[in-house]
Amino acid sequence: MLFPSMLRTSGDWFADFEQLQDRIDELLSGRSMTSSIRAVGRAGAFPALNVGTSAEALEVYAFAPGIDPKSIDVSVEKGVLAISGERAAANGAAQGTKSDEPNVYASERFVGKFRRVIALPEDAEPARVEATYRNGVLKIVVPKRESSKPRQIQISSGS
C-alpha cells in the first residue's frame, strides 16, 4: 500500500486542489462569479459567436457554415437579438453511387435546430440591423444611436 500515505496530508490539500480546478474551469469556460443576467454564455454552442464593437456599430459574427441564408432567421425583439435556424444532416447515402448505408467514421459537425440570443446594449438601434452571409459566416451589424456616438466638442473662446 503505497498510496494511502499520500492521501493523508495535514492541511486540506484536496480542497485546495479542487479550488484550483474550479478556477481553471472558470477561466476556460469564460464563466465568472459575476456575469450579466443576459450573458451570451454557452461556449461550444452552434453557431459560435464573436461580438465586436466600434464607434458606429455592434458587429456580431455567427460561424454557421453550410446553411441556406434564406433559412436563417435573425430577429430583434425587446433589445434581444436572436439567430435561429436549422442545419440538415449530411446525407452520406446520397453522395455514394449505391443506395446502401455508408460506414460512418466521424460525425462531429452540428446537426439540427439552433437558436442563439444576444442582449443588445442600450445604445443599439434595432431598426437598422443588417445581416449578410458570406463563406459560412453570418455578419450582423447593429448600428449605434446617433446620440451615443463619440463626437468632438468645440471649445469656443470666451472673448
Binding site: F63, K98, Y105, A106, E108
Partner: protein, 135 residues
C-alpha cells in the same frame, strides 16, 4: 454511429509537427468533420466558416492529407472585441490515409464554409465479387 470505432480506412490525427512559424504562435482551430465511406470511396465534410476558396490549402504528402486555411472575417476595421468563442484565425487538421485510397483523384469543393472532399478508392481496392468454383 461510433466515430471512434476501428477506422481502418482513415484515422484522425492531431497535427503533430508544426511547419510554419505563424502557426507556432497561434493555436489552430480544429474543424469538426463528418467522414463516411461507401463502396467507391470516402467523403469528408469539414466546417470551415470564414474561409475563401482561394485561401484553402489541401495537401497530400505521402499518406498524409492536410487541410489548412486562414479564417478571414472581411474588413479589418477598428473593432474592439467584446466576446469571442472563436479565438484563432487559422484552421488546420490532418488525416492519415490508407493505401487503398487513390490520392491522385481527390476532388474538393468549398461552399458556404463547408469543404467536401471526395477520396476515391483505388481500382484494385474496390469490393468485388469472388466466384466460388464448384469442385
Amino acid at each position: 454511429m461510433q466515430p471512434q470505432s476501428n477506422s481502418t480506412a482513415m484515422q484522425t490525427q492531431q497535427p503533430q509537427n508544426v511547419q510554419n512559424a505563424n502557426a507556432r504562435t497561434a493555436p489552430a482551430l480544429l474543424p469538426p468533420v463528418d467522414i463516411f465511406e461507401d463502396a467507391a470511396g470516402i467523403t469528408l465534410l469539414a466546417d470551415l466558416p470564414g474561409v475563401a476558396r482561394e485561401d484553402l490549402a489541401i495537401g497530400v504528402d505521402g499518406r498524409n492529407l492536410t487541410i489548412e486555411a486562414p479564417l478571414k472575417l472581411g474588413e479589418a476595421n477598428s473593432l474592439t472585441p467584446v466576446y469571442a468563442e472563436v479565438r484563432a484565425n487559422h484552421f488546420r487538421r490532418s488525416f492519415e490515409l490508407s493505401g487503398d485510397l487513390d490520392t491522385a483523384k481527390i476532388d474538393a469543393g468549398l461552399r458556404d464554409g463547408v469543404l467536401t472532399l471526395r477520396i476515391p478508392k483505388a481500382e484494385q481496392a474496390k469490393p468485388r465479387r469472388i466466384d466460388v468454383r464448384v469442385e
